[in-house]
Symmetry: C2
Subunit: 159 residues, 2 copies
DNA sequence: GTCGATGCAAAGCATTTGCACAGAA
DNA sequence: TTCTGTGCAAATGCTTTGCATCGAC
C-alpha cells in the first residue's frame, strides 16, 4: 500500500468479500488518512474529514479505522500518550519507532540485528515471535540547533 | 530495591523529604506489591490489599502506586491490554518483556546487542536515548506440552 | 491542631455500543 | 426493498479529582 489507489483497491476487495458497502465517509477518510502520511490520531483524522464532510462524528472514524485495519490497509499503534494512532500498512515488513521528546517527531527504523536477537531470545523461552513493539524515546543532541524544535508537532513519515 | 525492606527504606526517605505521611494503607500496599513480584495490575493490587484492609478503594491504590513510582520503588508498564501494571524498580538497569500469547506469562529479557544497536539508531538521528519500550508477543512452540498453558494467567517474575 | 491521606462518588478521557434513520446495493 | 452505514447520545473501562472526614505528626 504505497499509494491511495492501491489502498482503495484493497479496501474495495475486502468490502466486496464481506458484503460491506462503499460510502463517501470511508472514501474520504481513506484519502485523508493517506494524505496525513502516518501516525495520525483519531482527532486529526476526524478534523480533516470534517473539513470535507461536516457531519461526521467520532463513531464513524473509529469504526472505519477498525475496518481499514481489518482490510489490511492500516496499522494501529499505541504510543505512551494514550492516543491510538494509525499508519498506512506497508506490506509485511514492519518498522519500529524512535520518538523525539523535544520536537515530538516520530522517526521509523528497522534493524536486522535487533530482529535477529529477538528471535534468539524467543527461542530460548520456547517461543516463536508473533509481533512486537519497540519504541525508543529520546532527546535531541542538537539542542536549540535542532531544525524541528521550534515547529514541534511534526510527523516524519516513510524511511 | 531487591527486597521489601530496601523499598520501605527508600520510600520512607522520599516521604520524609516531601513532608508526606506514613499510613498503614501505603505500608500494606507496598508489601502486597512486593509479594506479587511484578507486573501486578491495579485490580490485583486492590484485591490483595483489601484482604488485609477491607475499606481500601481504587483511589488509594492509584495514588499510592503513583507515589511509589515517584519514590523510585516501582516502575509503571503499559502493555497492550490497556491495563497499567507495576513492577518493583530494580536499579537503573532495565529489562524488556516477552509475552506469551498462549499462557499469558510475561518473561523479562535484556540483551546488550539490542541495547547497543538502539544507541546507534538514535545517534544516526542526532538523538540520545532516554528510555524505551520493547515488547515481544509470541506463541509457545511446545503447544499442549507447555507446562504453563493449562494454568494460564501466571506471572513470571525476576530473571 | 495542622495538614496530608483516605474513601466515596463524580468527573474525565478515549473508545465502544444501541438505536432510529439514511443510503448503498 | 433489503440490509449495512451513519450520527447521535448513552455506555463503558480505566484513571483522576473534589470534597468532607480521618488520622499521622
Amino acid at each position: 500500500m504505497h499509494s491511495v489507489a492501491e489502498a482503495q483497491g484493497r479496501l474495495a476487495v475486502h468490502m466486496r468479500q464481506h458484503g460491506l458497502k462503499h460510502t463517501k465517509q470511508r472514501d474520504e477518510l481513506l484519502e485523508v488518512f493517506y494524505a496525513l502520511g502516518g501516525h495520525a490520531s483519531i482527532d486529526e483524522l476526524l478534523a480533516h474529514v470534517q473539513a470535507k464532510l461536516p457531519g461526521v462524528g467520532y463513531a464513524t472514524v473509529y469504526r472505519s479505522m477498525k475496518l481499514f485495519v481489518e482490510a489490511g490497509v492500516a496499522d494501529e499503534r499505541k504510543f505512551q500518550d494514550g492516543q491510538t494512532r494509525y499508519e498506512p500498512h506497508m506490506g509485511d515488513d514492519h518498522h519500529d519507532h524512535l520518538i523525539c521528546l523535544d520536537c515530538t517527531k516520530i522517526f521509523e527504523f528497522e534493524d536486522p540485528v535487533i530482529e535477529a536477537r529477538q528471535a534468539e531470545v524467543c527461542a530460548a523461552h520456547h517461543l516463536r515471535p508473533e509481533h512486537h513493539r519497540h519504541e525508543i524515546y529520546a532527546r535531541c543532541t542538537r539542542g536549540e540547533a535542532c531544525p524541528e524544535r521550534a515547529s514541534a508537532q511534526g510527523v516524519e513519515s516513510r524511511r
